[in-house]
Amino acid sequence: MNRVRFGRARIFVLALAISGCASPVPDRSETLEPMSPDSIPDAYARPSGALMAAGATRGYQVDEHGDLYDGEWKVVFTPTADGQPATPPRTIAALDRWRPVLQWVRRAGDVTWEFEAVAVPERAPRDTVLVVSLLVRARNTGNAPHRAELSVTLAPPDPDPVFVAWDARDNPRVALRWASGTARDTALAWCGESVAGATFKAATTLAPGAVFERRLLLPTYPTADHLLARNARISHARRVSEALQSANAALAGGTSFALPDSEVVSAMNAARLLLLACRERRGGAWVPIGNPFQYRDVWLRDGARVAHALAITGYGSVAREMMAGFIGYQWPNGAFLSQRGQLDGTGQALWAFEQVMLRGARPEELDPYIAAGQRAWRWIEWQRTAGRTSGTREGGSVQTLRFGTMLPFAEPRDGELVRAQLTGNDAWAIAGERALERLLRTRGRTASADSVARDRARYTDDFIAALARTGLDYVPPSWQGIGRDWGNLAVGWPCAVLPPGDPRLAATARRAWEQAGEIGLTVYGHRDSLHGYVGNDLATWALLTGWTAPADSMLDAMLHWRTASGTAAELFSRAGDFGRNLPPHPTAAAALLAQVRNRLIYDDVDTLRLTLGARRSWWQGSQVKGAPTWWGPIDLEFQHGKNQVTWRWSPVPVWTVLTLPPGTRLTSSPPAPLQGQGNRVLAPPGTREVAVSVGFID
């Protein structure tokens, strides 16, 4: 295979060879295998990719044209062959659909233009900046020579940009300048040579089979020329290798999920790397961001889910750093609120404290969160008292407020998309009080815990009474009955306000699924607007009732609706159009992680439940290692062999409920002290291994 390089590039290869001697990192620069991103599926109507890193305050979006945009400027690529422009990319894929290296291909006749990009975070204190290392490779796949030309232009954003960086400069606008080796200036891009103006051009004639490469560096902020030149001393191949190793190390730092289901494992890998990347620092604390692009902001409703997902998949310390960030959202009145009118934030913050801090924090670490939680609890109960003791004068009598015992009206400008008293706010507040009670009991503060428990019990009774007053057989989005399904879908799980068997939860689910026209994924506002994660609460509730079909359907949908980099959008049409709501969405990733983890290990009650929703294929033999639970980290192995099912797990001081594989039944009573109950086996505290005989249900 012939390789055509410009002189400067050859010098870099030489330097690489030397640096490679000292480093065991495999150098992929010598690997000229054609990239094949188009073999990786993408469920959406147009491709999109994200280059991001934890702590960085900007990321680069790779758009459907194959251009890059960081919220302040674009990098526009125009590759051609014999004057013919290359097609836009069909997919923008991560290696193996999860590794943090993006590849895409554009074609111009016989010439294939391959692109490979990786985000490289700068070292602290410049770690708010990341630099994209991008390799462009033209390959002549034909039998005749072709003229290959590459033009890369630094350009201002589109007139109606989907997102703009919070610190983008309007006046004066940033200078669209390429780095030059000797200049004492800042630049937006580096190509290894001096470029006059905003456009870098390179061209060559490619013989049949020949390859031509150029490497670019694209920082997310204007960066000094000399810093870019120094950055360029490390080859693209090494940057890729380091990113791959860093991703492997990040995954190794969490729970290990060894399942015989490569799609699920791949999706979980992508989801976990996304959650780890979608974080920004605020002083010593970290906050989870809603998206690297248009939702580069913080919502407690999303952040709580993200922190929970990280905590239950082995990233307790990362999640705890986020809880320190959550403290910054407490108002002087005690409530937690991130966005105007989103009163669910108080319950969500307390729930997150419980979910995160009780899985691995030292006891004394709980105290600041208990103190914050107690202020929040007093605010909640003050709201209820104000509502309960108020009334309206009608004629000569005073009427109490119809839903006065519930939190007041809110206008979240999101979710329920209505101004009313939202059932979800109350459900989360009740969950928050339950969380505070558990935190207090963990610290031995029984009297305070009992007080909170009494208020929670009254609140739950009031919730049920209010539900009866609506006259509806399901849980509506608001007490007034109006609004879109949102917080009401969380009443069964995770808020656990009503027991799983409550018929109103089943009716709520039925109603949501009828609107969607299918069981599992739900819609938002319109039958054609699929929502990527909100239905997962219903799916998990169904799992707890022993009904696995909705969870199976939801998981199938979450696995289907992935980009070629393994992440998901929030809202999209059935044709896969996500419009301006760009993926990746961390809450969708959190939902996937929570569901898979809960199917395997569920510890949200005073019982450990194993294989609650383990799919048939997982029973070929699965292993989970280092899963955080209320009772410390546990390992789990399970397998369905010939007529026998076995579980091995780290013993816990509570009963364990083991669910049989789908479609099987016990063929004999399990030996004492085990107890058989339908498709479940109950094991007493301290049990570490169970084997039972099973047969398939006819």
Binding site: P159, G328, Y329, L401, F403
Partner: protein, 178 residues
């Protein structure tokens, strides 16, 4: 020996101060800073007004109600300010984290304003502003309680009474329009 030591001290002090950038706002007197903050605030540029009002309180208006209440208002309004960047309207402050921090600091400044208020109208105004802030962020019961305080501080002043009626009406209807 003493001369050498003095020289070392002088050089090290010079080194320490070299590179320090002095914010020109920090050299403004209180009245000038206050006036400039007021110009920005009137133009709806609350984020830009904050350092000027902050300077005014540091430079002599810290014990004056006008100094504190305007800084409070600037901090609270900044959290709701929308800015146009590269053709797109977005919150002026970076994220909800900064917005909440700004409001909470503003509420603290309002407490300071209450402390130094010279008469009942100023105290009522301070409480009324707090009530409006709580209403805007979606705390109607809290807003009602504070609006009632505002009314009690100056029963002759109409705005708190109107706000109370509005909040009572909304709370009774669960926020739903008639």
């Amino acid at each position: 020996m003493i001369a050498i030591a003095a020289a070392v001290v002088w050089v090290s002090r010079r080194e320490a101060t070299r590179g320090m950038v002095v914010n020109p706002i920090d050299s403004l007197d209180a009245q000038t800073a206050f006036a400039q903050g007021g110009r920005f605030g009137t133009a709806g540029r609350h984020v830009e007004s904050i350092p000027y009002f902050r300077r005014a309180t540091v430079a002599g208006m810290g014990e004056q109600w006008e100094g504190r209440i305007n800084l409070a208002a600037a901090l609270i309004n900044a959290a709701l300010e929308v800015d146009s960047r590269l053709g797109k309207a977005d919150p002026a402050l970076r994220s909800s984290y900064e917005r909440v921090q700004s409001v909470v600091e503003g509420m603290g400044e309002a407490r300071q304003a209450m402390r130094v208020a010279r008469d009942s109208r100023a105290r009522a105004y301070t409480a009324y502003q707090d009530a409006q802030n709580l209403q805007a962020w979606g705390f109607p019961w809290d807003a009602l309680a504070v609006a009632q305080v505002a009314q009690s501080l100056d029963p002759t002043w109409e705005p708190p009474r109107r706000l109370i009626l509005e909040l009572q009406r909304d709370l009774a209807r669960g926020g739903v329009a008639p």
